[in-house]
């Protein structure tokens, strides 16, 4: 395996970590938005993601950094082609982060609290939708033979297309489902009634994941035949794993086996991400920018690979420490 392929693999892992962990944070915002008058759900969601979401967000920064230092031309092309949707996603990220940190009392009923809660929820829906749509569009144009207008221009990335929209909705549903499974497991030991509520929402979102996954495959076969071809051949194992995991997570929730549901939902999310990578590999964006043609010089790659290894050795124990410390919910509100 070449060094650029190895780094692409690490980039994939970072994006997967972002999709699952920050995805669950987005999901918490989506569940918060749709919690109705159940303020106990809001409180539990806010306490759970409070200490974790900032660290989860850094996986995105990592991915961006790897992309622009190792595949600079692909980063340039992505930024040029995706100026509009990525601007929307950025604004959504900022709005939800600021609203979450400003909200003093998630269960509060005052006007300012509900406005902040609404902004947190709206940003949490928008960000994964746009990221999902961008990923779908990149997959669609990269698997087709089109989109090769030089180093810094990939024209006509179809991020407003039917397929992209379906993938965006699938991303939203997956985020909400992962969050619901996680929350029902977390509250199952101490607060059975809360776990039951998150279980119900996990079942609803799980059904949405299955339906939208099917729709996305249909949309691919209809609008993106080249991608459909890859999905039904090279990436078929991941399509199968994703479908089975999503089904398993719904079934486990139905039988109140929360731990199984939590892991299965995470596997389903990871399978969607890796299905995307495999379906368009080795292409990064369009037909010309691949992990080989867009890579920086070998000297840069080896220097960054060494730095990356050191960085991961430093970061992973800290990340584990954070999750270990906040594994169990504290019943009192720590403010």
């Amino acid at each position: 395996m070449s060094l650029s392929a190895l780094i692409a693999l690490v980039l994939g892992l970072c994006l997967t970590a972002y999709a699952i962990l920050a995805g669950a944070d987005f999901g918490a915002g989506i569940l918060d938005l749709t919690a109705g008058r159940h303020s106990s759900e809001r409180g539990a969601l806010a306490r759970t993601i409070g200490p974790l979401w900032e660290a989860n967000h850094v996986w995105l920064i990592f991915s961006i950094t790897i992309l622009f230092s190792v595949f600079p031309t692909a980063f340039a092309a992505l930024g040029t082609a995706m100026l509009a949707p990525l601007t929307v996603a950025l604004i959504a990220l900022v709005v939800r982060g600021a609203a979450l940190s400003l909200r003093a009392d998630p269960a509060g009923a005052t006007r300012s609290e509900s406005l902040l809660g609404w902004a947190f929820g709206a940003g949490s829906v928008t960000a994964p939708f746009v990221f999902g749509a961008c990923a779908g569009a990149v997959a669609q144009i990269s698997s087709s033979g089109r989109g090769a207008a030089g180093a810094t221009g990939v024209a006509g990335v179809p991020w407003t297309g039917v397929f992209a929209g379906t993938v965006g909705l699938l991303a939203v549903a997956l985020c909400a489902h992962v969050a619901a499974c996680f929350m029902s497991f977390r509250s199952s030991r101490a607060r059975e009634e809360l776990a039951a509520r998150f279980r119900r929402r996990g079942l609803q979102t799980g059904a949405a994941v299955l339906a939208l996954g099917l729709l996305a495959l249909l949309a691919a076969s209809w609008k993106a035949p080249a991608l459909w071809h890859r999905l039904s051949t090279t990436a078929l194992p991941l399509v199968v794993v994703g479908t089975v995991a999503a089904g398993l997570s719904v079934q486990a929730l139905a039988r109140r086996r929360y731990l199984v549901a939590r892991w299965a939902s995470m596997v389903a999310a990871g399978a969607v991400v890796w299905g995307w990578f495999i379906a368009q590999s080795p292409r990064l964006l369009g037909s010309r920018l691949t992990i080989h043609t867009a890579a920086a010089s070998p000297a840069v790659l080896s220097a960054l690979a060494i730095a990356g290894a050191v960085v991961l050795l430093a970061v992973l124990p800290a990340f584990y420490l954070l999750y270990a410390l906040f594994r169990r919910p504290s019943l009192e509100v720590t403010q």
């Binding site: 200490p51 967000h57 900022v94 982060g97 940190s101 730095a307 009192e332």
Partner: protein, 445 residues
């Protein structure tokens, strides 16, 4: 096309100056929290703990907004300057990756620190603040080495417009790394200390003259007294770095129009349209040559000797920003000296109206000095995005619609500024926690 470039530059400039405010506090406040909490561990005095807790609540908001605005910038590098990133991404990838790691560790320990007040022992909680202080300074350090590279690019060769022979370490440790990074980190600490002092000076002006306010001001000005003189020295060294590597920038900064042997230092010399020389200028003979090159008769090249295409079109604003930064910096050093001279004589520190008003004004000015310093660095480097190598006009994206994105982000920043101000005021007003006497303290106004 020039409107396109202006919109792109305006969006980047707005994003950076917005982010800088939060970045400065993100580097500075952890140090202040750590010192205050450490004082509590040492003395058992509950006021210190109350201060640390109050600051940690403010920090929680500022860190979230700062992390978000930093994310915007890392995307904007590709959204606005894709050709620059395609050119330079590999060369400056190392400091950005390391910054990612530092930010990661910071985010982890921020989670632990903010949510661990009741989960960890007091000592362990204090210890969990140390990685925040280190990694936030390290983040600033790594990012500024990348900017130093844009000023003094090293560690690559240019063959037919393509970057080859990249040495990422030589690029990161370019000749400007040491001075530029220390100037930024010290600037962040200083702005935070004067900002904190200003907040509590306003509280005292409103009549809240209690131990809580006194301790906050004393702590802030103690840190400032140590760092302010250091910053002057580092600023001087940075000036020499610029003199050696960016002669056109030096000429714009110091207001040198024509080449001079034994150049004098211009004090004042405000650039006004319609005046060939600066207005209200006092020239100290030979001093600029001494400061920049250590020789009283050294020659300082004037701005007019550079081809028009290779010198900054913003020489006036560069000079103005530089005068502002130096003026504020000198004033801050003077204020801290004044405070400590007066304090020794009267015991608990001067609390007269004039001193408090000066402190209240010094806070915003210290932040302004940081912003002005970046204007000097960025405006002074134009028309280059990478000094002498790559022009800003060649780096801008070819995608249309920058007017719309600039408008959207400007509105976002205006909205964010006002809700952040509202949120910070909300967590910082009211009586501090864990203090026996309920005092109606208005901490941040």
């Amino acid at each position: 096309m020039s409107g396109h470039l202006t919109a792109g530059r305006a969006q980047m400039g707005t994003s950076l100056s917005f982010h800088l405010f939060f970045a400065v506090l993100g580097v500075g406040l952890p140090l202040m929290m750590l010192v205050a909490e450490g004082m509590h561990l040492r003395t058992g005095e509950p006021t210190w703990r109350a201060l640390a807790r109050r600051w940690s609540k403010v920090f929680a908001i500022l860190f979230a907004v700062g992390a978000a605005s930093g994310t915007i910038i890392s995307f904007e590098l590709g959204l606005l300057w894709p050709r620059f990133m395609a050119f330079a991404g590999g060369v400056i990838g190392l400091p950005f990756s390391l910054e990612g790691a530092a930010f990661f560790i910071e985010a982890v320990f921020v989670g632990i620190y903010l949510y661990g007040w009741d989960r960890l022992s007091p000592r362990l909680h204090w210890l969990s603040g140390i990685p925040i202080v280190i990694s936030s300074a390290a983040s600033a350090f790594f990012i500024v080495t990348a900017n130093a590279w844009m000023n003094v690019p090293r560690g690559f060769s240019l063959v037919h417009g393509r970057v080859t022979h990249v040495n990422v370490l030589a690029a990161m440790f370019n000749p400007a790394w040491a001075t530029e990074t220390s100037h930024m980190v010290l600037g962040a600490y200083l702005a935070t200390t004067f900002g904190v002092a200003a907040v509590y000076a306003v509280g005292m002006l409103r009549g809240r003259r209690d131990a809580y306010h006194r301790k906050a001001i004393a702590l802030a000005l103690s840190v400032a007294a140590i760092l302010a003189p250091l910053q002057m020295g580092v600023g001087d060294l940075l000036g020499r770095t610029v003199a050696k590597n960016q002669p056109a920038k030096l000429a714009a900064i110091e207001g040198v129009t024509h080449t001079e042997r034994g150049a004098g230092l211009n004090i004042g010399g405000i650039p006004l349209p319609g005046h060939a020389a600066g207005v209200l200028n006092v020239k100290l003979p030979h001093l600029l040559s001494v400061l920049a090159f250590d020789r009283p008769n050294a020659s300082v090249r004037g701005l007019s000797t550079f081809p028009r295409a290779n010198r900054t079109p913003l020489a006036g604003p560069v000079r103005l920003a530089f005068i502002g930064m130096i003026g504020i910096g000198t004033g801050l050093v003077g204020l801290s000296v004044w405070y400590w001279l007066r304090r020794r004589r009267t015991g608990p520190g001067p609390e007269d109206r004039i001193t408090l008003l000066a402190l209240a004004g010094a806070g915003p000015l210290a932040f302004l000095a940081n912003e002005l310093g970046w204007l000097v660095s960025e405006f002074g480097r134009q028309p280059w995005i990478v000094y002498g190598v790559f022009r800003t006009s060649s780096a801008i994206t070819t995608a249309p619609g920058l007017g719309a994105t600039f408008t959207a982000f400007t509105l976002l920043y205006l909205g964010l500024s006002s809700v952040t101000l509202w949120g910070v005021r909300r967590v910082s007003t009211g009586s501090p926690d864990h203090l026996p006497r309920p005092s109606l303290s208005v901490a941040l106004r």
